[in-house]
Assembly symmetry: C2
Homo-oligomer: 153 residues x 2
């Protein structure tokens, strides 16, 4: 039986929606991330953002996804037997994310199954939902991850 | 007729796959990005990565997506009447991305249509494919973007 990690495939149970934590969106980080990876005016230029359809600076959608990833890591991924992810479905940036917003992420396990080809691992499908401080959904997506099994073989 | 930007909705034509540019994956940046947003061992720790199923350091999938976003920006997005994106489908991290890899991104316009509710804009659906220097696909996804029309109304 594997004991190196806290969380293995067997620990994911289909069901309840639970919080994995919160993050406050930092203005400087919004600009820094977007300057590097997504320098559209409404992500990097306060004045241009005011004139845009968004009415002010908003975070790059990739930055919001990356903040969610960090919450996942801190909540359980770093202490898990994670083997990475093959992909995502239904990524939806539903509302603008603005500096100063508090984002809270929720995890719902949608499906768990054994790998068909590798007996040492299983697959977990998860619905991710991120809300702002008003309780409005700003990001949803479904992700797939591979995890080693605690009971190998 | 709008003339502020180089590219409006009318300029996207369904069809050909074309390159939007290349980027070399920088080792320090792989570690820096992942330390902030995705600190799993195989993204941040050279020794742990060697012991993992990946056999060495690999970029966070979010970092690869962000590098693709920057290529989009430089190729045309920054000079376009882009209004942002509501989301993505079918994100697939197909192969590991490693420091030193040269990634080349390809764009195929899959669909263009007018907005049903807003006569000043249209919708563009795009298939994104990212290959490494061996011609292997490492990332594919379909994205949706809104763009203003050149001919308003």
């Amino acid at each position: 039986m594997n004991t190196k990690f806290k969380t293995y495939w067997e620990d994911f149970k289909v069901g309840n929606r639970e919080s994995i934590g919160s993050v406050v969106v930092d203005r400087d980080e919004v600009i820094e991330f977007a300057t590097r990876y997504d320098p559209q005016p409404f992500h990097v230029d306060e004045e241009a953002a005011k004139q845009s359809i968004y009415g002010g600076l908003i975070a790059s959608g990739w930055h919001t996804c990356s903040m969610l990833m960090r919450l996942m890591c801190d909540a359980y991924m770093l202490e898990s037997a994670s083997l990475g992810s093959p992909g995502l479905e239904n990524v939806r940036w539903l509302r603008p994310v603005r500096p100063g917003d508090t984002l809270t992420a929720y995890r719902t396990i949608e499906e768990t199954r054994l790998s068909g080809s590798r007996p040492d691992r299983g697959i977990v499908k998860t619905l991710w939902e991120v809300e702002n401080q008003k309780g409005e959904l700003v990001l949803t997506m479904s992700g797939v991850n591979f995890f080693l099994k605690r009971q190998a073989g």
